[in-house]
Amino acid sequence: MGEIKQIRLCGLGGQGIVLGGTILGYAGINDGKWVAGSSSYGAEARGSACRSEVIISDEPIIFPHVTRPDILIAMSQEAYDKYIKDMGRDGETVIYDEQMVCTKEISGLRQLGFPAGSVATKELENKLVANMVILGIVAEVTRIVSRNALLSAIEKNVPERFRALNLRAAELGLALGRAQK
Protein backbone atom coordinates (compact mmCIF):
# COMPACT_ATOMS: atom_id res chain seq x y z
CA MET A 1 0.00 0.00 0.00
CA GLY A 2 1.25 3.43 -0.92
CA GLU A 3 0.88 6.37 1.37
CA ILE A 4 -2.40 8.23 1.72
CA LYS A 5 -2.54 11.54 3.58
CA GLN A 6 -5.79 13.24 4.50
CA ILE A 7 -5.61 16.96 5.12
CA ARG A 8 -8.33 19.26 6.42
CA LEU A 9 -7.95 23.04 6.24
CA CYS A 10 -10.42 25.10 8.22
CA GLY A 11 -11.03 28.68 9.17
CA LEU A 12 -13.36 31.54 8.37
CA GLY A 13 -14.89 32.23 4.99
CA GLY A 14 -12.74 34.91 3.39
CA GLN A 15 -9.42 33.61 4.74
CA GLY A 16 -8.72 31.78 1.52
CA ILE A 17 -9.35 28.31 2.90
CA VAL A 18 -10.92 27.01 -0.32
CA LEU A 19 -8.16 28.48 -2.49
CA GLY A 20 -5.61 27.06 -0.05
CA GLY A 21 -7.08 23.59 -0.47
CA THR A 22 -7.13 23.93 -4.24
CA ILE A 23 -3.50 25.01 -4.34
CA LEU A 24 -2.44 22.22 -2.01
CA GLY A 25 -4.22 19.69 -4.23
CA TYR A 26 -2.73 21.20 -7.35
CA ALA A 27 0.71 20.90 -5.74
CA GLY A 28 0.02 17.23 -5.13
CA ILE A 29 -0.74 16.81 -8.83
CA ASN A 30 2.54 18.59 -9.62
CA ASP A 31 4.30 15.99 -7.48
CA GLY A 32 2.72 13.23 -9.57
CA LYS A 33 0.29 12.09 -6.87
CA TRP A 34 -3.37 11.14 -6.97
CA VAL A 35 -5.44 13.89 -5.37
CA ALA A 36 -9.06 14.41 -4.38
CA GLY A 37 -10.41 17.60 -2.87
CA SER A 38 -13.71 18.99 -1.70
CA SER A 39 -14.67 22.23 0.00
CA SER A 40 -17.44 24.10 1.75
CA TYR A 41 -19.83 25.51 -0.77
CA GLY A 42 -22.45 28.20 -0.85
CA ALA A 43 -23.18 30.52 2.08
CA GLU A 44 -20.87 28.72 4.51
CA ALA A 45 -17.86 29.44 2.30
CA ARG A 46 -18.54 33.16 2.72
CA GLY A 47 -18.11 34.17 6.36
CA SER A 48 -18.83 31.37 8.80
CA ALA A 49 -16.76 28.27 9.55
CA CYS A 50 -15.27 27.10 6.30
CA ARG A 51 -13.49 23.91 5.37
CA SER A 52 -11.47 22.46 2.55
CA GLU A 53 -10.26 18.88 2.39
CA VAL A 54 -7.54 17.28 0.33
CA ILE A 55 -6.41 13.68 0.02
CA ILE A 56 -2.97 13.13 -1.46
CA SER A 57 -2.12 9.54 -2.32
CA ASP A 58 0.40 7.37 -4.15
CA GLU A 59 -2.50 5.32 -5.53
CA PRO A 60 -5.92 6.02 -7.01
CA ILE A 61 -8.36 7.23 -4.35
CA ILE A 62 -11.56 5.22 -3.97
CA PHE A 63 -13.57 7.24 -1.47
CA PRO A 64 -12.69 10.87 -2.18
CA HIS A 65 -13.81 12.52 1.07
CA VAL A 66 -11.71 12.79 4.21
CA THR A 67 -12.66 10.10 6.70
CA ARG A 68 -10.05 10.88 9.32
CA PRO A 69 -7.55 13.72 8.86
CA ASP A 70 -3.83 13.10 9.33
CA ILE A 71 -3.21 16.83 9.26
CA LEU A 72 -5.52 19.57 10.51
CA ILE A 73 -4.73 23.14 9.51
CA ALA A 74 -6.73 25.59 11.64
CA MET A 75 -6.95 29.31 10.99
CA SER A 76 -9.77 30.25 13.37
CA GLN A 77 -10.89 29.28 16.85
CA GLU A 78 -14.39 28.28 15.81
CA ALA A 79 -13.06 25.97 13.12
CA TYR A 80 -10.43 24.51 15.47
CA ASP A 81 -13.04 23.78 18.13
CA LYS A 82 -15.27 22.13 15.57
CA TYR A 83 -12.68 19.85 13.98
CA ILE A 84 -10.19 19.10 16.78
CA LYS A 85 -12.61 16.41 17.93
CA ASP A 86 -11.56 14.26 14.97
CA MET A 87 -7.88 14.38 15.92
CA GLY A 88 -5.79 12.49 18.44
CA ARG A 89 -4.18 9.42 16.95
CA ASP A 90 -0.41 8.95 16.93
CA GLY A 91 1.34 10.62 14.07
CA GLU A 92 -1.35 13.19 13.48
CA THR A 93 -0.44 16.85 13.28
CA VAL A 94 -2.29 20.08 13.89
CA ILE A 95 -0.87 23.25 12.41
CA TYR A 96 -2.55 26.46 13.50
CA ASP A 97 -2.26 30.21 13.35
CA GLU A 98 -1.19 31.11 16.88
CA GLN A 99 -2.75 34.56 16.67
CA MET A 100 -6.16 33.06 15.91
CA VAL A 101 -6.32 29.82 17.87
CA CYS A 102 -5.94 28.81 21.52
CA THR A 103 -5.36 25.07 21.57
CA LYS A 104 -6.63 22.39 23.90
CA GLU A 105 -4.14 20.00 25.42
CA ILE A 106 -4.49 16.58 23.78
CA SER A 107 -1.94 13.99 24.84
CA GLY A 108 0.10 12.49 22.05
CA LEU A 109 -1.13 14.95 19.44
CA ARG A 110 1.48 17.15 17.80
CA GLN A 111 0.11 20.70 17.69
CA LEU A 112 2.30 23.34 16.14
CA GLY A 113 1.46 27.05 16.27
CA PHE A 114 2.91 29.58 13.85
CA PRO A 115 2.55 33.33 13.48
CA ALA A 116 1.15 33.05 9.96
CA GLY A 117 -1.26 35.95 10.18
CA SER A 118 1.12 38.31 11.96
CA VAL A 119 3.95 37.53 9.55
CA ALA A 120 1.63 38.25 6.64
CA THR A 121 0.60 41.54 8.24
CA LYS A 122 4.07 42.65 9.34
CA GLU A 123 6.22 41.48 6.45
CA LEU A 124 3.79 41.82 3.58
CA GLU A 125 1.26 44.29 4.96
CA ASN A 126 -1.53 42.00 3.82
CA LYS A 127 -3.14 39.56 6.20
CA LEU A 128 -5.08 37.97 3.33
CA VAL A 129 -2.02 35.97 2.33
CA ALA A 130 -1.83 34.22 5.71
CA ASN A 131 -3.22 31.17 3.89
CA MET A 132 -0.15 31.05 1.65
CA VAL A 133 2.14 31.45 4.69
CA ILE A 134 0.38 28.45 6.23
CA LEU A 135 0.77 26.40 3.06
CA GLY A 136 4.51 27.11 3.08
CA ILE A 137 4.70 25.98 6.69
CA VAL A 138 2.69 22.83 5.95
CA ALA A 139 4.89 21.91 2.99
CA GLU A 140 8.05 22.33 5.03
CA VAL A 141 6.85 20.64 8.23
CA THR A 142 4.86 17.74 6.82
CA ARG A 143 6.43 17.25 3.36
CA ILE A 144 3.06 16.31 1.90
CA VAL A 145 3.95 18.45 -1.09
CA SER A 146 7.33 19.60 -2.33
CA ARG A 147 8.45 23.21 -2.28
CA ASN A 148 8.62 23.50 -6.05
CA ALA A 149 5.23 21.84 -6.51
CA LEU A 150 3.69 24.33 -4.08
CA LEU A 151 5.25 27.40 -5.65
CA SER A 152 4.27 26.35 -9.15
CA ALA A 153 0.71 25.60 -7.96
CA ILE A 154 0.50 29.14 -6.57
CA GLU A 155 1.76 30.57 -9.86
CA LYS A 156 -0.93 28.69 -11.77
CA ASN A 157 -3.85 29.49 -9.49
CA VAL A 158 -3.32 33.09 -8.39
CA PRO A 159 -4.10 36.02 -10.73
CA GLU A 160 -1.02 37.74 -12.04
CA ARG A 161 -1.29 40.95 -10.05
CA PHE A 162 -1.25 39.03 -6.74
CA ARG A 163 1.20 36.35 -7.81
CA ALA A 164 4.44 37.83 -6.48
CA LEU A 165 2.78 38.64 -3.14
CA ASN A 166 1.44 35.13 -2.70
CA LEU A 167 4.73 33.51 -3.69
CA ARG A 168 6.55 35.72 -1.19
CA ALA A 169 4.05 34.67 1.49
CA ALA A 170 4.64 31.00 0.76
CA GLU A 171 8.41 31.54 0.91
CA LEU A 172 8.00 33.15 4.33
CA GLY A 173 5.97 30.13 5.42
CA LEU A 174 8.64 27.74 4.14
CA ALA A 175 11.22 29.68 6.19
CA LEU A 176 9.02 29.54 9.32
CA GLY A 177 8.65 25.80 8.84
CA ARG A 178 12.41 25.33 8.49
CA ALA A 179 13.05 27.34 11.68
CA GLN A 180 10.64 25.07 13.55
CA LYS A 181 12.75 22.07 12.69
Binding site: G32, G37, S38, Y41, G42, I62, F63, P64
Partner: protein, 379 residues
Protein backbone atom coordinates in the same frame (compact mmCIF):
# COMPACT_ATOMS: atom_id res chain seq x y z
CA UNK B 1 -17.41 5.60 -40.89
CA UNK B 2 -18.21 8.77 -39.05
CA UNK B 3 -15.65 8.00 -36.33
CA UNK B 4 -12.45 9.96 -36.42
CA UNK B 5 -9.48 10.63 -34.25
CA UNK B 6 -8.91 14.22 -33.20
CA UNK B 7 -6.39 16.04 -31.07
CA UNK B 8 -7.64 16.86 -27.56
CA UNK B 9 -8.49 20.51 -26.96
CA UNK B 10 -6.21 20.56 -23.90
CA UNK B 11 -2.53 19.58 -23.99
CA UNK B 12 -2.03 16.00 -22.80
CA UNK B 13 -1.20 15.66 -19.12
CA UNK B 14 -2.65 15.70 -15.62
CA UNK B 15 -4.99 18.43 -14.42
CA UNK B 16 -6.64 19.25 -11.10
CA UNK B 17 -10.18 20.03 -12.16
CA UNK B 18 -13.59 19.99 -10.57
CA UNK B 19 -16.15 17.65 -12.09
CA UNK B 20 -18.03 20.61 -13.54
CA UNK B 21 -14.91 22.00 -15.17
CA UNK B 22 -14.10 18.54 -16.49
CA UNK B 23 -17.55 18.22 -18.09
CA UNK B 24 -17.07 21.57 -19.82
CA UNK B 25 -13.65 20.50 -21.09
CA UNK B 26 -15.02 17.14 -22.21
CA UNK B 27 -17.67 18.94 -24.25
CA UNK B 28 -15.06 21.16 -25.88
CA UNK B 29 -12.88 18.14 -26.64
CA UNK B 30 -15.85 16.38 -28.26
CA UNK B 31 -16.39 19.36 -30.54
CA UNK B 32 -19.21 21.18 -28.72
CA UNK B 33 -19.26 24.78 -29.92
CA UNK B 34 -22.72 25.89 -28.84
CA UNK B 35 -23.92 26.27 -25.28
CA UNK B 36 -27.14 27.88 -24.11
CA UNK B 37 -28.03 27.73 -20.45
CA UNK B 38 -29.46 29.30 -17.37
CA UNK B 39 -27.31 29.25 -14.22
CA UNK B 40 -28.34 27.04 -11.33
CA UNK B 41 -26.51 25.67 -8.33
CA UNK B 42 -24.69 23.27 -8.33
CA UNK B 43 -24.10 23.23 -12.09
CA UNK B 44 -23.20 26.88 -12.78
CA UNK B 45 -19.43 26.33 -12.99
CA UNK B 46 -20.02 24.43 -16.23
CA UNK B 47 -21.44 27.47 -17.98
CA UNK B 48 -18.89 29.77 -16.37
CA UNK B 49 -16.07 27.58 -17.66
CA UNK B 50 -17.65 27.28 -21.11
CA UNK B 51 -18.19 31.06 -21.30
CA UNK B 52 -14.47 31.65 -20.79
CA UNK B 53 -13.19 28.76 -22.91
CA UNK B 54 -15.52 29.37 -25.87
CA UNK B 55 -13.79 32.72 -26.39
CA UNK B 56 -10.55 30.79 -26.85
CA UNK B 57 -11.83 27.94 -29.00
CA UNK B 58 -14.43 29.91 -30.95
CA UNK B 59 -17.81 28.72 -29.69
CA UNK B 60 -21.13 30.47 -29.19
CA UNK B 61 -22.30 30.90 -25.60
CA UNK B 62 -25.68 32.36 -24.71
CA UNK B 63 -27.31 32.83 -21.34
CA UNK B 64 -31.01 32.35 -21.99
CA UNK B 65 -34.00 33.60 -20.01
CA UNK B 66 -34.78 30.19 -18.55
CA UNK B 67 -34.21 26.46 -18.98
CA UNK B 68 -37.05 25.92 -21.47
CA UNK B 69 -35.51 28.47 -23.78
CA UNK B 70 -32.02 27.08 -23.12
CA UNK B 71 -32.86 23.62 -24.32
CA UNK B 72 -34.91 24.90 -27.25
CA UNK B 73 -31.94 26.95 -28.32
CA UNK B 74 -29.65 23.93 -28.04
CA UNK B 75 -32.01 21.88 -30.21
CA UNK B 76 -32.03 24.63 -32.82
CA UNK B 77 -28.26 24.84 -32.80
CA UNK B 78 -28.01 21.10 -33.32
CA UNK B 79 -30.24 21.38 -36.41
CA UNK B 80 -27.97 24.14 -37.65
CA UNK B 81 -25.18 21.56 -37.54
CA UNK B 82 -23.48 22.35 -34.22
CA UNK B 83 -22.69 20.02 -31.38
CA UNK B 84 -24.65 21.68 -28.62
CA UNK B 85 -25.05 21.33 -24.88
CA UNK B 86 -26.66 22.76 -21.78
CA UNK B 87 -26.22 22.05 -18.09
CA UNK B 88 -28.59 22.39 -15.19
CA UNK B 89 -29.82 20.87 -11.93
CA UNK B 90 -33.12 19.28 -10.86
CA UNK B 91 -35.45 22.31 -10.96
CA UNK B 92 -34.08 23.40 -14.34
CA UNK B 93 -34.11 19.83 -15.59
CA UNK B 94 -37.84 19.74 -14.82
CA UNK B 95 -38.37 22.77 -17.05
CA UNK B 96 -36.41 21.08 -19.82
CA UNK B 97 -38.66 18.04 -19.99
CA UNK B 98 -40.76 19.41 -22.85
CA UNK B 99 -37.61 19.99 -24.87
CA UNK B 100 -36.24 16.55 -24.08
CA UNK B 101 -39.36 14.91 -25.49
CA UNK B 102 -39.15 17.14 -28.54
CA UNK B 103 -35.46 16.32 -29.07
CA UNK B 104 -36.19 12.59 -28.76
CA UNK B 105 -39.09 12.81 -31.23
CA UNK B 106 -37.13 14.90 -33.73
CA UNK B 107 -34.03 12.74 -33.21
CA UNK B 108 -31.86 15.71 -32.34
CA UNK B 109 -28.40 15.00 -30.93
CA UNK B 110 -28.02 17.07 -27.74
CA UNK B 111 -26.22 16.70 -24.44
CA UNK B 112 -27.65 17.79 -21.09
CA UNK B 113 -25.52 17.71 -17.97
CA UNK B 114 -27.72 17.43 -14.88
CA UNK B 115 -25.79 18.04 -11.66
CA UNK B 116 -28.30 16.60 -9.23
CA UNK B 117 -29.05 18.31 -5.94
CA UNK B 118 -31.36 17.43 -3.07
CA UNK B 119 -35.01 17.70 -4.12
CA UNK B 120 -37.97 17.66 -4.49
CA UNK B 121 -38.58 21.08 -6.09
CA UNK B 122 -35.91 23.63 -5.15
CA UNK B 123 -35.02 21.40 -2.19
CA UNK B 124 -31.51 22.06 -0.91
CA UNK B 125 -29.62 23.90 -3.61
CA UNK B 126 -26.08 23.28 -2.36
CA UNK B 127 -26.65 19.71 -1.17
CA UNK B 128 -26.34 16.44 -2.98
CA UNK B 129 -29.18 14.34 -4.33
CA UNK B 130 -29.79 11.59 -6.84
CA UNK B 131 -33.47 11.93 -7.45
CA UNK B 132 -33.54 12.64 -11.19
CA UNK B 133 -33.13 9.05 -12.38
CA UNK B 134 -36.77 8.57 -13.34
CA UNK B 135 -37.20 12.15 -14.48
CA UNK B 136 -34.41 11.54 -16.98
CA UNK B 137 -36.35 8.70 -18.56
CA UNK B 138 -40.02 9.49 -18.02
CA UNK B 139 -40.16 13.25 -17.53
CA UNK B 140 -41.80 14.00 -20.86
CA UNK B 141 -44.95 12.43 -22.29
CA UNK B 142 -45.00 9.24 -24.32
CA UNK B 143 -42.40 6.52 -24.67
CA UNK B 144 -39.22 8.00 -25.99
CA UNK B 145 -35.58 6.99 -25.94
CA UNK B 146 -32.81 8.69 -23.98
CA UNK B 147 -29.38 7.65 -22.88
CA UNK B 148 -28.33 8.56 -19.34
CA UNK B 149 -24.83 8.11 -17.96
CA UNK B 150 -23.75 8.17 -14.31
CA UNK B 151 -20.14 9.32 -13.84
CA UNK B 152 -18.37 8.64 -10.52
CA UNK B 153 -15.22 10.72 -10.83
CA UNK B 154 -13.80 13.88 -12.32
CA UNK B 155 -12.03 11.75 -14.92
CA UNK B 156 -15.40 10.36 -15.98
CA UNK B 157 -17.00 13.79 -16.05
CA UNK B 158 -14.50 14.46 -18.82
CA UNK B 159 -14.47 11.06 -20.55
CA UNK B 160 -18.21 10.48 -20.30
CA UNK B 161 -19.08 13.93 -21.60
CA UNK B 162 -17.06 13.02 -24.69
CA UNK B 163 -18.90 9.69 -24.76
CA UNK B 164 -22.23 11.51 -24.34
CA UNK B 165 -21.59 13.57 -27.47
CA UNK B 166 -20.49 10.49 -29.39
CA UNK B 167 -23.65 8.62 -28.39
CA UNK B 168 -25.87 11.61 -29.19
CA UNK B 169 -24.34 11.94 -32.65
CA UNK B 170 -24.26 8.21 -33.26
CA UNK B 171 -27.89 7.53 -32.32
CA UNK B 172 -29.46 10.97 -32.84
CA UNK B 173 -30.78 11.01 -29.31
CA UNK B 174 -30.70 13.25 -26.23
CA UNK B 175 -27.95 12.09 -23.89
CA UNK B 176 -28.03 13.07 -20.23
CA UNK B 177 -24.98 13.11 -18.05
CA UNK B 178 -26.72 12.34 -14.78
CA UNK B 179 -24.10 13.44 -12.29
CA UNK B 180 -24.46 14.38 -8.64
CA UNK B 181 -23.35 17.55 -6.84
CA UNK B 182 -20.72 15.52 -4.99
CA UNK B 183 -19.05 14.66 -8.31
CA UNK B 184 -19.61 18.06 -9.93
CA UNK B 185 -17.86 19.83 -7.07
CA UNK B 186 -15.22 17.22 -6.42
CA UNK B 187 -11.70 18.12 -7.48
CA UNK B 188 -9.49 15.31 -8.67
CA UNK B 189 -6.62 14.45 -10.89
CA UNK B 190 -7.83 14.30 -14.46
CA UNK B 191 -5.74 12.91 -17.26
CA UNK B 192 -6.01 14.20 -20.80
CA UNK B 193 -4.65 12.01 -23.58
CA UNK B 194 -3.29 13.41 -26.81
CA UNK B 195 -5.95 12.05 -29.12
CA UNK B 196 -9.58 11.03 -28.70
CA UNK B 197 -12.10 9.29 -30.93
CA UNK B 198 -15.18 11.29 -31.83
CA UNK B 199 -18.27 10.48 -33.84
CA UNK B 200 -19.86 13.09 -36.08
CA UNK B 201 -23.45 12.66 -37.26
CA UNK B 202 -23.84 10.82 -40.54
CA UNK B 203 -24.89 12.85 -43.57
CA UNK B 204 -26.22 11.54 -46.84
CA UNK B 205 -27.35 13.77 -49.70
CA UNK B 206 -31.01 13.35 -50.54
CA UNK B 207 -31.64 10.69 -47.90
CA UNK B 208 -34.81 10.78 -45.81
CA UNK B 209 -33.85 12.56 -42.57
CA UNK B 210 -36.29 10.42 -40.58
CA UNK B 211 -36.09 7.22 -42.59
CA UNK B 212 -34.72 4.10 -41.01
CA UNK B 213 -31.09 3.42 -41.77
CA UNK B 214 -29.63 -0.06 -41.33
CA UNK B 215 -29.43 0.42 -37.59
CA UNK B 216 -32.58 2.51 -37.21
CA UNK B 217 -30.61 5.76 -37.15
CA UNK B 218 -31.24 8.05 -40.13
CA UNK B 219 -28.63 10.42 -41.51
CA UNK B 220 -29.08 14.03 -40.37
CA UNK B 221 -28.72 17.05 -42.62
CA UNK B 222 -28.46 20.57 -41.22
CA UNK B 223 -30.49 23.59 -42.22
CA UNK B 224 -28.63 25.52 -44.87
CA UNK B 225 -27.09 22.52 -46.57
CA UNK B 226 -29.60 22.53 -49.43
CA UNK B 227 -31.79 19.67 -48.23
CA UNK B 228 -35.55 20.02 -48.01
CA UNK B 229 -35.99 19.80 -44.28
CA UNK B 230 -39.03 19.73 -42.04
CA UNK B 231 -38.66 19.18 -38.32
CA UNK B 232 -41.70 18.64 -36.13
CA UNK B 233 -42.54 17.21 -32.74
CA UNK B 234 -45.75 15.87 -34.18
CA UNK B 235 -45.80 12.42 -35.76
CA UNK B 236 -44.10 12.48 -39.13
CA UNK B 237 -43.06 10.26 -42.00
CA UNK B 238 -39.55 9.54 -43.23
CA UNK B 239 -39.31 13.02 -44.77
CA UNK B 240 -40.63 14.90 -41.75
CA UNK B 241 -44.11 15.49 -43.14
CA UNK B 242 -46.74 15.75 -40.39
CA UNK B 243 -48.95 12.66 -40.30
CA UNK B 244 -51.04 13.06 -37.19
CA UNK B 245 -53.81 10.55 -37.93
CA UNK B 246 -52.00 7.70 -39.68
CA UNK B 247 -51.72 4.63 -37.42
CA UNK B 248 -49.00 3.04 -39.54
CA UNK B 249 -46.75 6.13 -39.50
CA UNK B 250 -47.24 6.52 -35.77
CA UNK B 251 -46.57 2.84 -35.06
CA UNK B 252 -43.45 2.71 -37.24
CA UNK B 253 -42.00 5.92 -35.83
CA UNK B 254 -42.52 5.10 -32.15
CA UNK B 255 -41.20 1.57 -32.63
CA UNK B 256 -38.10 2.77 -34.47
CA UNK B 257 -37.34 5.47 -31.87
CA UNK B 258 -37.49 2.80 -29.19
CA UNK B 259 -35.64 0.10 -31.12
CA UNK B 260 -32.73 2.21 -32.33
CA UNK B 261 -31.62 2.39 -28.68
CA UNK B 262 -32.82 -0.98 -27.37
CA UNK B 263 -31.41 -2.94 -30.31
CA UNK B 264 -28.05 -1.26 -29.87
CA UNK B 265 -27.95 -1.51 -26.10
CA UNK B 266 -24.97 -3.87 -26.02
CA UNK B 267 -22.99 -1.10 -27.67
CA UNK B 268 -24.35 1.62 -25.39
CA UNK B 269 -24.47 0.07 -21.92
CA UNK B 270 -21.33 0.12 -19.79
CA UNK B 271 -20.80 -1.40 -16.37
CA UNK B 272 -17.98 -2.58 -14.10
CA UNK B 273 -17.69 -5.68 -11.91
CA UNK B 274 -15.85 -5.70 -8.61
CA UNK B 275 -15.47 -9.02 -6.77
CA UNK B 276 -18.92 -10.01 -8.05
CA UNK B 277 -17.92 -13.47 -9.33
CA UNK B 278 -18.17 -15.36 -6.02
CA UNK B 279 -20.11 -12.83 -3.93
CA UNK B 280 -23.15 -13.77 -1.86
CA UNK B 281 -24.22 -10.16 -1.46
CA UNK B 282 -23.82 -7.89 -4.45
CA UNK B 283 -24.07 -4.13 -4.22
CA UNK B 284 -25.54 -2.47 -7.28
CA UNK B 285 -24.44 1.14 -7.23
CA UNK B 286 -23.81 4.09 -9.50
CA UNK B 287 -22.38 7.61 -9.37
CA UNK B 288 -20.75 8.83 -6.17
CA UNK B 289 -22.42 6.10 -4.10
CA UNK B 290 -20.46 3.50 -6.06
CA UNK B 291 -17.27 4.98 -4.63
CA UNK B 292 -18.55 4.66 -1.06
CA UNK B 293 -19.71 1.15 -1.92
CA UNK B 294 -16.42 0.03 -3.43
CA UNK B 295 -14.57 1.38 -0.39
CA UNK B 296 -16.89 -0.64 1.86
CA UNK B 297 -16.70 -3.77 -0.31
CA UNK B 298 -12.90 -3.73 -0.42
CA UNK B 299 -12.69 -3.26 3.37
CA UNK B 300 -15.02 -6.22 3.89
CA UNK B 301 -13.20 -8.39 1.34
CA UNK B 302 -10.06 -7.88 3.44
CA UNK B 303 -12.04 -9.42 6.30
CA UNK B 304 -12.91 -12.37 4.05
CA UNK B 305 -16.56 -11.41 3.55
CA UNK B 306 -18.08 -12.50 0.23
CA UNK B 307 -19.38 -9.17 -0.96
CA UNK B 308 -19.09 -7.67 -4.42
CA UNK B 309 -20.25 -4.76 -6.49
CA UNK B 310 -21.64 -3.99 -9.91
CA UNK B 311 -21.31 -0.39 -10.97
CA UNK B 312 -23.83 0.88 -13.47
CA UNK B 313 -22.10 3.45 -15.67
CA UNK B 314 -25.14 3.65 -17.93
CA UNK B 315 -28.51 4.14 -16.25
CA UNK B 316 -30.68 4.39 -19.39
CA UNK B 317 -31.13 2.19 -21.30
CA UNK B 318 -31.23 0.01 -18.20
CA UNK B 319 -28.86 -2.96 -18.00
CA UNK B 320 -31.68 -5.53 -17.89
CA UNK B 321 -29.76 -8.63 -18.99
CA UNK B 322 -26.92 -7.82 -16.62
CA UNK B 323 -29.38 -7.63 -13.72
CA UNK B 324 -30.98 -10.94 -14.76
CA UNK B 325 -27.55 -12.54 -14.71
CA UNK B 326 -26.47 -11.02 -11.39
CA UNK B 327 -29.82 -11.92 -9.83
CA UNK B 328 -29.38 -15.56 -10.77
CA UNK B 329 -26.02 -15.76 -8.97
CA UNK B 330 -26.35 -13.58 -5.86
CA UNK B 331 -28.18 -14.44 -2.66
CA UNK B 332 -29.01 -10.82 -2.01
CA UNK B 333 -28.70 -7.57 -3.91
CA UNK B 334 -28.14 -4.35 -2.00
CA UNK B 335 -28.97 -1.08 -3.76
CA UNK B 336 -27.84 2.09 -1.94
CA UNK B 337 -29.14 5.33 -3.45
CA UNK B 338 -29.47 9.03 -2.75
CA UNK B 339 -33.18 8.83 -3.58
CA UNK B 340 -36.14 6.70 -2.47
CA UNK B 341 -35.22 3.65 -4.52
CA UNK B 342 -35.48 4.68 -8.15
CA UNK B 343 -32.88 2.23 -9.49
CA UNK B 344 -33.81 -0.42 -6.89
CA UNK B 345 -37.27 -0.49 -8.47
CA UNK B 346 -35.77 -1.09 -11.91
CA UNK B 347 -33.59 -3.87 -10.51
CA UNK B 348 -36.70 -5.53 -9.09
CA UNK B 349 -38.23 -5.59 -12.57
CA UNK B 350 -35.57 -7.96 -13.88
CA UNK B 351 -34.86 -10.39 -11.06
CA UNK B 352 -36.66 -12.25 -8.31
CA UNK B 353 -33.53 -12.16 -6.17
CA UNK B 354 -33.90 -10.61 -2.71
CA UNK B 355 -33.44 -6.85 -3.25
CA UNK B 356 -32.60 -4.63 -0.30
CA UNK B 357 -32.78 -0.91 -1.07
CA UNK B 358 -31.00 1.65 1.09
CA UNK B 359 -32.37 5.14 0.66
CA UNK B 360 -30.71 8.23 2.04
CA UNK B 361 -32.26 11.59 1.23
CA UNK B 362 -30.69 13.95 3.76
CA UNK B 363 -28.61 16.01 1.35
CA UNK B 364 -25.43 14.15 2.32
CA UNK B 365 -23.48 11.47 0.49
CA UNK B 366 -23.79 7.89 1.73
CA UNK B 367 -20.70 7.17 3.83
CA UNK B 368 -18.76 3.90 3.37
CA UNK B 369 -19.34 3.12 7.07
CA UNK B 370 -23.09 3.26 6.49
CA UNK B 371 -22.82 0.78 3.64
CA UNK B 372 -20.54 -1.49 5.67
CA UNK B 373 -23.04 -1.46 8.52
CA UNK B 374 -25.90 -2.40 6.22
CA UNK B 375 -23.89 -5.14 4.48
CA UNK B 376 -22.92 -6.71 7.81
CA UNK B 377 -26.58 -7.11 8.64
CA UNK B 378 -27.19 -8.87 5.33
CA UNK B 379 -24.37 -11.41 5.53
Amino acid sequence: MAWKEVRSALPAGNYYYSGNEAAAEGAIAAGCRYYAGYPITPSSEIMEWIAVRFREVGGVFIQMEDEIASLSSVIGASWAGAKAMTATSGPGFSLMQEGIGYAAMTETPIVIVDIQRAGPATGQATRVGGGDIMQAKWGSQGDYPVIAISPWSVQEMYDQTINAFNLAERYRVPVILLAEQAVGHLRERMNVVEKIAIFNRRKEKGAAPFGAGDDGVPPMPAFGEGEKLLVTGSSHDDYGLRKVADPLVQARLTARLHNKIVNNREEIIQHEDYYAEDADVIVIAYGFTARSSLFAVEAMRREGKRVGMIRLKTIWPFADSLIRDVGSRAKKIFVPEMNRGQVAGEVMKYTCCDIIPYNQTDGEVIHPNTIMGELRRLL
